[in-house]
Subunit: 326 residues, 4 copies
């Protein structure tokens, strides 16, 4: 499970960076910086989720095309980089991303893991050999006009936005529909309403379920509100938001390319500094997820209580059995 | 500071409710249920914040006028109740609200504290004596068409909405303006940018402050988004959301009156059950407040760091001294 | 409720410190630094709990006696300071402590509030007039051999230790006994045991209550373990733990005096620096309080559930009614 | 990464339980209940940590030997079960434990995963074929005298106790030693002490590091205190703590066997009910881990700040470079 450090008898090649040489597995597309991270950060044994890797590959492709359109990256390299990104997005290089989810603060290791894998694969696509960085360089070409500091927050916005749009919202929509259906189905069933678990006034089971339905509806809407705040991305800000080594034309093109890839509406923010100083949008999304979870947790607790028994509980509903006890 | 239990030698009158008789201070406008709460819940010594009391008084006045327009409460009682509420809102009865902020779960004590104080003051305004509940009854008249279960969440929405609108947003607007001004003032000051507290690329102090300004702007906007969710109130739902002992006409009128009092746009929700089953809007507002606080906390920490020294720190800015050390 | 700023027409005297002159209410025992704090920190309207003030007064008295025995503070001043502290401990000066619980980070305002009130009261006891700090000086005499940095953590240890010893543990002991008694009383009552709220094997109500009793017993023991960690106090460390302006003899005497006052066994730690760098003991106590609260909360939830009904719930026990509904 | 549901073209065998038949992979040692869990709980893609599996195997072995000594389980089955447990402990069956870490509340799936894998492997060791539960039955033999309700908390105590003893405490001991060494090494280096990041009185770097050393020492001791609370285990309590289907002799023997396996001093508690009603010991350990983490986090933040620069920061220490930037 743990990313393995290099053992003495493994076939390896030598890869190097500004801090010196590092042995990496012979067949690995990643290079010295990724290997340093694997060696240094033996923390949780849980690797970076692949959805983050894929979002980063979308960004790297968009950046390469943006740099090409801005006249800074030659066509040949830009397209080799894009093809390497496409292979990542086709899940062909999943095993190249082995670093621990807990690494150095800014995410430098993850950015470099992408840069190295993309560079080495692009080199191969251009007929070269892994490590021949004159052909495609992890920093100079793949990371061109970028820094960990602007791309990490951008990547997190992309990954989160897409996960909500593609996975969570459809699931919530489904749950909302199921609860609405039950609400209608149960509308004639009169039962006791409770306050503080004490018997109170009558209510229908359908009315109770209408509340469950609207809990999903309302928190889903809160989630969509904050999800849209993820559309502002600091791409182009580079190390401190000042656009050193990048320019607005590149940023404009890169965002345009990113929107083609993601079919979303990411955009340049009015101010990049705040998106690099703070993680406020991510916090807001995390809070909205908590709100959704709170709503569903309350519903689940109610169902568990209504299902209590069969003989010495409330026994108002019967949930299907899915597991024997032990 | 602690609400005092009755001592043996205090002047008292006897007040009673369905559980029996209780001694209350002779001059108190509150009655037996408030006194039971004072006796039972000696928890924190911190009383319910008066802003909640005032919001409840707004609601009670709106409810009385709503019941009057709905033909259920006679003009004389409705107006005496309204005048008593106005006195609360004029801060004339602050000392009548002594219950601990931590009481029984649903807020029954707070609702009854309002009902009792309003009833007894209305009785006096109609020429009667405290405790002569035939004239104005805490439950039958002041609490008419209401329950703790629908009025507590409604009151919390009112109090929170108004506190944000009247106090917090103006303060944030002020802070935003001050930071924007500093950002302009500092735009020519070039300084070192830092990543991980390591020297990085140049940046201006004005650019850093522009990030601070936008942190306030963006979290303020998130707060406004969720603040608007507080406008839906379950008023009229009574004990379980089913409107037992109330009706839609009353609810409609009461909300209309409430909007006159608050100059806000509260409204009947599509579904009352969810607003009584869960506290999702309050959770969202609490989270938005946390987001604002997170933004300001980061700014404050930065300022503290930039002000470190004077000789052995960063010393990039000088904050005014406001207190000697010790 | 809020500490009042000085208004123009109040009678005042002029008090001064290194930052200059400040108007303070004529009759106030506190001085310029307290008034600065009242003016600067209008935050919550909740004042510092008096138990902290009393703990600080114990410390100030112990320090004065320690300085006297160490030959640094003359007998006359030391005893006047001690008498002023005794008056605080006799609750005679409660109204002199009005600062907001949220003040400057280190607690400087609270330390100075104590120093100023004690100094001015000691001056009076020695026949002088408030503000004549040649007689007794807040910093030079009351705060002698001390700093906010060593006394605040010491005070928090004292206040917390005593609150647990004098209030919380007796209350828990009482609860433990009540649950043990119920456990015996209920030992013949066989009922259904539940897992996941589903009917399971038989159990007696007495067995369930024995679990409640032991939850209190066990968490109480955890609390006692960490409470004892509060006995190490950094008194004497002054500003950074290095004992500048203090010495070990003073620290030894002061702790001895403190133990006479508190009848506890506070002691000099092996290392003062850690007690001033971090707040680990307080964190551990806060966590132990959470553990106790978690235990009691679970018990309360169970009782609420067992009491549900009366007709449409579990109805296994009947809790006494303490409040009517509304 | 995700546990795979059965696909149509996989080789399978039929396994069954009280809810009916289920297809499981032909070579799998696990059975129907594990497969139901794999099918039902597709939650996080993170499987149960193997340290929990190993702790459960220790418990299952101890229980089999306990049952044997209690005369309830025949020697042949008990020893086959023990040998299967040994194989799990030798890491030979790691791939049989694929269920999601988030499953049904009580951990029934994990208990049954162990029961099924052990039963099927024991059957093979006795010359039978997987699924021939007459030879060794998951519930009747492997789970004999046990329930999920008493074994899950027991297992969590075992796993946590061993992880702290075998991994965390040695690492903390190592860190404590390193900091103590640095404290001595740096004892002659005088530097500025800071309060609120403002220059204050002199201190040596060695004194600062002595504080770091003692932060580790003190929180390590807090951790050891609560770790010892894990030694009480509810083994034998079965479903509700009442020992239905078990007895004290078995419990006594099983704990004795467990202590042989773990070289620890687990013991029967005075009261089993509380250990099954609440998770207070685990909470206390989690809090102690938080205290350790808080201490180390503070130290790390200080080091980061002292290392700031090199030219525009404090620059008081130089941490080794381990990764290039990007």
């Amino acid at each position: 499970m743990l990313p393995l450090k290099m053992s003495d008898d493994m076939s390896y090649r030598i890869d190097s960076d500004v801090l010196g040489e590092v042995k990496v597995p012979k067949d690995a597309y990643y290079g010295s910086e990724t290997q340093r991270s694997i060696n240094n950060f033996v923390v949780s044994g849980i690797t970076v989720p692949l959805d983050l890797v894929y979002a980063y590959a979308m960004l790297k492709k968009a950046a390469a095309q943006g740099n090409k359109r801005d006249g800074k990256l030659d066509l040949r390299r830009a397209d080799a980089i894009s093809r390497a990104c496409d292979e990542i997005l086709a899940h062909k290089l999943d095993f190249q991303f082995k670093i621990d989810i807990f690494q150095a603060g800014a995410g430098t290791s993850l950015n470099m893991n992408l840069n190295e894998v993309i560079a080495n694969r692009a080199i191969e696509l251009l007929g070269g050999k892994k490590g021949d960085y004159k052909i495609v360089h992890p920093n100079d070409h793949v990371n061109m006009s970028q820094s960990t500091n602007d791309t990490m927050p951008t990547m997190v916005h992309i990954a989160t936005y897409l996960a909500i749009r593609n996975k969570l919202l459809p699931a919530l929509k489904n749950l909302e529909g199921a609860l609405a259906k039950k609400s209608t189905e149960f509308k004639g069933i009169v039962k006791v309403g409770r306050t503080h678990l004490q018997d109170a006034v009558p209510i229908t089971l359908g009315e109770e379920f209408s509340g469950y339905k609207w809990a999903v509806t309302n928190t889903m809407q809160m989630l969509i509100d904050v999800q849209n705040r993820l559309l502002e991305i600091p791409l182009g800000g580079t190390a401190a938001g000042t656009m050193i080594n990048a320019d607005e034309k590149y940023a404009h093109y890169a965002v345009e390319e990113l929107n083609k890839i993601t079919k979303a509406k990411f955009k340049i923010p009015k101010n990049r500094f705040v998106l690099m100083q703070q993680r406020l949008e991510e916090l807001a999304v995390a809070d909205a997820l908590k709100q959704v979870a709170t709503a569903i947790n309350k519903i689940s607790n109610d169902l568990r209580l209504l299902n209590s028994g069969p003989r010495s509980g409330l026994g108002e509903i019967t949930l299907p059995e899915i597991l024997p006890g032990s």
